[in-house]
Amino acid sequence: MVETIELGILWALLAATLLAVLVRPARRVAWPAAGLLAAAWVGIHVDAIAGGAAAAGVLAAAVLEGRPGKAEPDFDTLVRAIAAVGAGLVAAAFLVVRIVHAEVALAEMAYPAVASATVALAVVVLDSDGREQARATRLLTALGIAAWAWAAPGEVGTAAVAALALPAMALAGRWARVPPPTPG
């Protein structure tokens, strides 16, 4: 039963990430939702305190990032988003199958989490909008907390300290200059 819930959370995490990248109006909600799902997985699978800290960090960052300005949709942004999703999904498959050689049972758990991370990384690399890059970076950090909590279960304090980086990123992006979009 718990395994089924965990599996559901992980695939919902991937779905939220894809939604955040592809559906423009949903971005403000979908990025934090993906982070919260990663935190929920940590809370259920590893440690409730680490999961709670990560969730608090994700929520605080979402509140602190401020109200975004309106951005007009354009063809270039859509192409970049599709490219980021494609590259991220393929890279995750390569990692899980060719590098880690995961068995089927592990792969169906690992793939959505790894794919969320690679898609978020692809957004950081390919997207030209600084605000989207910032949100993707925060999701990467939340996923990092989840991965580390799983890899080093005894280090709850480390995960909690790392969760502080999430609101710090949001505050730094708000107080500091928002990175301007790169032309072309």
């Binding site: 880690v100 990384l121 690399v125 890059q133 580390w148 280090e155 304090g157 790392a162 301007p180 032309p183």
Partner: protein
């Protein structure tokens, strides 16, 4: 000793940069006062803390890290003394970068916190420079942080399916990305050439040494991998660092003034330090980083501030000697140490290193012979005159007594 007294210096070391960051964001006009107070407090904390100290399992630094912390302190002090350009980063961002550097040094053994810090840096710092190279540098940093983290997690989990060769590849690739070594360093060089003087100094002199400390702390993990040739990962890093040195030195031949030369020199000095770590000479790396912090900000100061004639000539001479690696500048001692250590790493590394150093001399001479005048120079204020006087003296003292520097600053 009461626990509070033991924790106090650690609290100062982490808390003061954080407080200074918040204060500078809230009240930029008070940046100079805040910086003076914070730097004094951090210096006291550093004096109180022994090299190799630790607080719990997470917060620790060795002698190499201690030196990097002193350099970060010098970096932020000099950066705040430089004249602020119109496009320069606000003081809050400069302190945030310093805080990140302190965090990287203190938490270098905790991969999650290193990754989170690198991602924070990638988000903020590259925004304060030319947009194109800034975006490229941000990508490089973020990708490097993620690749490194993958390597760290796989190493921690000891997943049997992930071969040690894949692990070594991830860690080496991650370090090359994060440190901006060839073939990923061009964006960083171009960013440094276009960025404001203050943020360039902080990125080079605070963040750079901290990243070298992280690489140095994790070179042990690379050595413990079961590879056919155990030294190969470190040698690979050394080769790429040497290639970076050659590439940046060639790029410096296009320098149009002190600013370009300083930007290229920052990456060249970092490459020399990384090369030294790769060939196992931490002393060489330490002196290369000292040279970086003494010489490159001086060049940026010469680019922006019109100094009094005599002091200007002294500063020019010190910058020239430091950049070209001539005795008695500290960079001469650094290069000598690194070259000696590189002899054991193979002919290719030595050849690349020699070529890089020679081309760097030519590039430096070219800029000086063109009698480059400061562009849009402002009349130097007393703080800048002080910096212009202190840095050459520090460079000279460090060059004459490199052993003393290693012992006092780096606690070696």
């Amino acid at each position: 000793m009461p626990a509070l007294l033991v924790a106090l210096p650690w609290g100062l070391l982490v808390g003061l940069p954080a407080l200074a960051t918040l204060a500078c964001f809230a009240r930029p006009a008070l940046a100079a006062v805040v910086t003076a107070a914070a730097v004094a407090g951090i210096a006291v904390a550093l004096v109180m803390l022994p090299a190799g100290g630790s607080l719990g399992a997470t917060v620790a630094f060795g002698s190499f890290g201690r030196g990097a912390l002193w350099l970060a302190l010098a970096g932020i002090t000099v950066a705040m003394a430089l004249p602020a350009g119109p496009d320069d980063a606000p003081p809050g961002v400069l302190w945030l970068t310093t805080l990140a550097a302190v965090g990287l040094v203190l938490l270098s053994r905790t991969p999650l916190l290193v990754t989170a810090t690198l991602l924070l840096v990638a988000l903020v710092v590259p925004a304060y420079g030319p947009a194109g190279p800034g975006s490229a540098w941000r990508r490089t940093l973020a990708a490097g942080a993620v690749v490194l983290f993958f390597g760290f997690v796989a190493e921690r989990l000891a997943v049997p399916q992930v071969t040690d060769l894949s692990l070594a590849g991830a860690l080496v690739g991650g370090f090359l990305l994060v440190l901006g070594m060839t073939p990923f360093g061009l964006a960083q060089v171009r960013w440094l050439r276009g960025a404001g003087h203050r943020v360039a100094v902080v990125a080079g002199c605070c963040l750079g040494p901290a990243l070298v400390v992280v690489a140095s702390d994790w070179s042990g993990a690379l050595g413990s991998l079961h590879l056919l040739r155990p030294n190969r990962p470190a040698t690979t890093i050394a080769v790429f660092a040497a290639l970076t040195l050659v590439g940046v030195a060639l790029h410096a031949l296009t320098a149009r003034g002190w600013r370009d030369l300083a930007a290229d020199g920052i990456v060249a000095d970092l490459a020399l330090a990384v090369l030294a770590v790769g060939v196992g000479s931490l002393d060489g790396a330490a002196l290369a980083l000292v040279a970086l912090v003494v010489v490159r900000p001086l060049m940026l100061l010469l680019d922006r501030a019109a100094l009094p004639a005599g002091l200007g000539r002294l500063a020019t001479l010190a910058a020239l000697a430091g950049a070209a690696g001539m005795p008695p500048a500290v960079s001469f001692a650094a290069r000598l140490l690194v070259l000696g250590a590189a002899l054991g790493a193979g002919d290719a590394v030595v050849a690349l290193l020699v070529v890089g150093l020679v081309v760097e001399v030519v590039a430096t001479g070219r800029v000086v012979l063109r009698r480059v005048a400061a562009r849009d120079a402002v009349v130097a204020r007393p703080g800048q005159i002080l910096v212009a006087g202190v840095l050459p003296v520090l460079g000279l003292v460090a060059g004459l007594f490199p052993g003393g520097v290693l012992e006092r600053v780096w606690g070696g």
